[in-house]
């Protein structure tokens, strides 16, 4: 299976990473060489194999329903690129 330029652009859109045509062509080449190498997995029959879902062979540990994290708004907002003491700020969104 080969990955064409259109697919590269679609993936970049899904990944929310803009790429110009030159980069897209380079990526097309890289991805094709990587996937060609990955394709060797197809030599292996895995029809009757269960996928590994978790390496730690145990189950989810529960937490009690207790409020531990209090108001840390200042900490939460202090690294945000657009200054605002109450909110995170992003370019206007139209739904």
């Amino acid at each position: 299976m080969s990955i064409d330029l259109k697919t590269v652009k679609h993936i970049s859109k899904l990944s929310r990473i803009s790429i110009d045509d030159q980069k897209a062509k380079k990526l097309e080449k890289d991805l094709n060489s990587i996937f060609k190498w990955i394709e060797q997995l197809n030599q292996l029959n895995t029809d009757n194999v269960d996928p590994l879902t978790s390496i730690a062979e145990t189950t989810l540990r529960f937490r009690k329903d207790q409020i531990v994290s209090k108001n840390i708004r200042e900490d939460v907002l202090k690294n945000s690129p657009k200054d605002n003491k109450d909110y995170f700020v992003v370019p206007k969104v139209v739904e």
Binding site: S54, L60, S69, K70, N71, V76, V89, E95
Partner: protein, 487 residues
């Protein structure tokens, strides 16, 4: 097919409307699904945001046991299959109020499987199938109308536990949707798993609508109307959408499968603008979490906490108290109403209590736009009022006067009776004196009556009541009057 079936008619062609609902119900819990910050509604923006909720680098989810129990409890309330092993997946998409860039949800293996909800339609009960219930994180809130040039993001809600309850496409009309949402809400409120408060967004739904010509058994292409937060809007959106789709089909066009929004100003649905890249959520099991597993004992322990649910309560009311199915349905439909009723009947006559609650009290609440939890009259005082009627202390008419007074100040009706001297006159001697007085001053009418004008009896009763200032015991007045006039 019953004659009151909801159909859309276009050019003489009739269309059936097929509706399925994805209800998002906020789980009642103190802290969030995967973090330890609070879930309280209406707090200052971004004050209930932990490092996990804001997706800081290296932050990890740890599951809240109580939210799991709440989901299982709801599953039991929906007569559903509880899955002892379920998996959390990541649903990947970018949005300003989704800090992780993915929502932790359950995709292939939900915690709850198929179940049912029974609707009480005028034509009889109808069972709506539940496809599944799964746990997931809520997103934050994007605010578009504070700042003219920017969107502001409040993450207080980010990470709050939601139950997504997916129905089968079994609903056929806006009215059924209304009853379905109310029933679901009622069940969850009985269980204490969701407060069902639609104004605060604790209950919202995505509505899937499609239409098909009557007689066809093939499902049409559906549209999903996202995030509708009131029953009224759901009904309007369905009506609009069903008509839109039927028109499209009539014109020979196809319905596009798409996500739409309901514009509450124009009462119309429209395609979402931000859908531009067809969603590809790239679900995969969340590697920060392990499979969620519990044993039968875990489920059994939760079963022990399940209270009597609306349908069971209704049957009990009908069987034990001989209430009509109609009365019983009304009294159990809302948890607070049923609690109020059960409080009142602890000490009062059941039939009278049912009448007073569904009659006078509901009228009063409606008039003042109040929920029963906000009733100006407490169940204890209503019970006392009803007992005053039952033991003959006051007449039904006086009771209404007292009820009126109680609606302004929630006072013990016994005190009101005492203060205002409204106690019913049941002393035969006193009543006899009153009656004699009336008869004496209306000799002509007495003669007319005696010569056969029976209808005048009511006149005498009225006069006696008037003379007693409404306090005379009507049964006794009747009896004594009859004795005197016929004697």
């Amino acid at each position: 097919m019953s004659k009151d079936q909801y159909l859309i008619e276009k050019n003489g062609n009739k269309y059936e409307v097929i509706i399925g609902l994805e209800v998002h119900a906020q789980v009642l819990s103190d802290s969030k699904l995967f973090s330890t910050s609070a879930t309280k509604f209406g707090s200052e923006p971004n004050t209930q945001v932990s490092l996990v909720d804001a997706a800081f680098p290296g932050m990890l989810p740890v599951i809240n046991e109580f939210c799991v129990r709440q989901a299982v409890k709801t599953g039991i309330g929906l007569n559903a299959k509880i899955n002892k092993k379920s998996i959390f997946d990541r649903k990947n998409y970018f949005y300003a109020d989704l800090p992780q860039g993915y929502q932790i949800s359950q995709y292939k293996d939900p915690i709850v499987g198929e179940g049912t909800v029974v609707l009480d339609l005028p034509s009889g009960p109808k069972t709506i199938g539940i496809e599944r219930l799964h746990l997931e994180q809520d997103a934050g809130k994007s605010i578009h109308d504070i700042d003219p040039t920017s969107t502001l993001v409040d993450l207080n809600r980010s990470g709050v536990a939601l139950m997504e309850i997916v129905s089968k496409p079994d609903l056929r009309s806006p009215e059924e949707v209304n009853l379905y949402i109310k029933k679901l809400r009622s069940i969850m409120r009985y269980l204490g798993t969701c407060d069902g408060n639609m104004q605060e967004g604790s209950l919202r739904a995505d509505v899937n609508v499609s239409v098909r010509k009557v007689g066809s058994d093939k499902l049409g292409t559906r549209c999903e109307i996202k995030n509708v937060n009131s029953i009224k809007f759901m009904q309007m959106a369905i009506e609009y959408e069903a008509n839109r789709q039927a028109e499209l089909l009539e014109e020979g066009n196809a319905v596009d499968q798409e996500t739409r929004l309901f514009d509450t100003k124009k009462n119309k649905t429209r395609p979402m603008r931000s859908k531009e890249d067809a969603h590809d959520y790239r679900y995969f099991p969340d590697p920060d979490l392990l499979p969620l597993e519990f044993d039968d004992q875990f489920i059994e322990n939760i079963k022990k906490e399940i209270p009597e649910l609306p349908d069971q309560k209704k049957n009990r009311f009908i069987e034990k108290f001989k209430l009509s199915p109609y009365e019983a349905t009304i009294l159990v439909s809302d948890l607070d109403t049923s609690k109020f009723f059960e409080k009142v009947i602890e000490k009062s006559d059941v039939k009278l209590s049912a009448n007073w609650i569904t009659g006078e009290l509901f009228a009063l609440l409606n008039e003042n736009n109040l929920e029963i939890a906000e009733s100006p009259i407490s169940p204890e005082n209503l019970s006392k009022l009803i007992n005053l009627i039952s033991n003959g202390t006051i007449s039904g008419k006086i009771a209404k006067t007292i009820f009126e007074i109680m609606s302004k100040e929630d006072k013990d009706p016994n005190i009101i009776v005492e203060e205002k001297g409204l106690k019913q006159e049941s002393d035969p001697k006193a009543l006899e004196d009153l009656i004699q007085k009336v008869l004496n001053s209306n000799e002509d009418k007495v003669n007319e009556y005696k010569s056969g004008k029976d209808k005048l009896f009511g006149f005498f009763v009225g006069q006696v009541m008037k003379e007693s200032k409404g306090k005379g015991n009507p049964q006794m007045i009747n009896k004594i009057l009859k004795d005197k006039l016929n004697g």
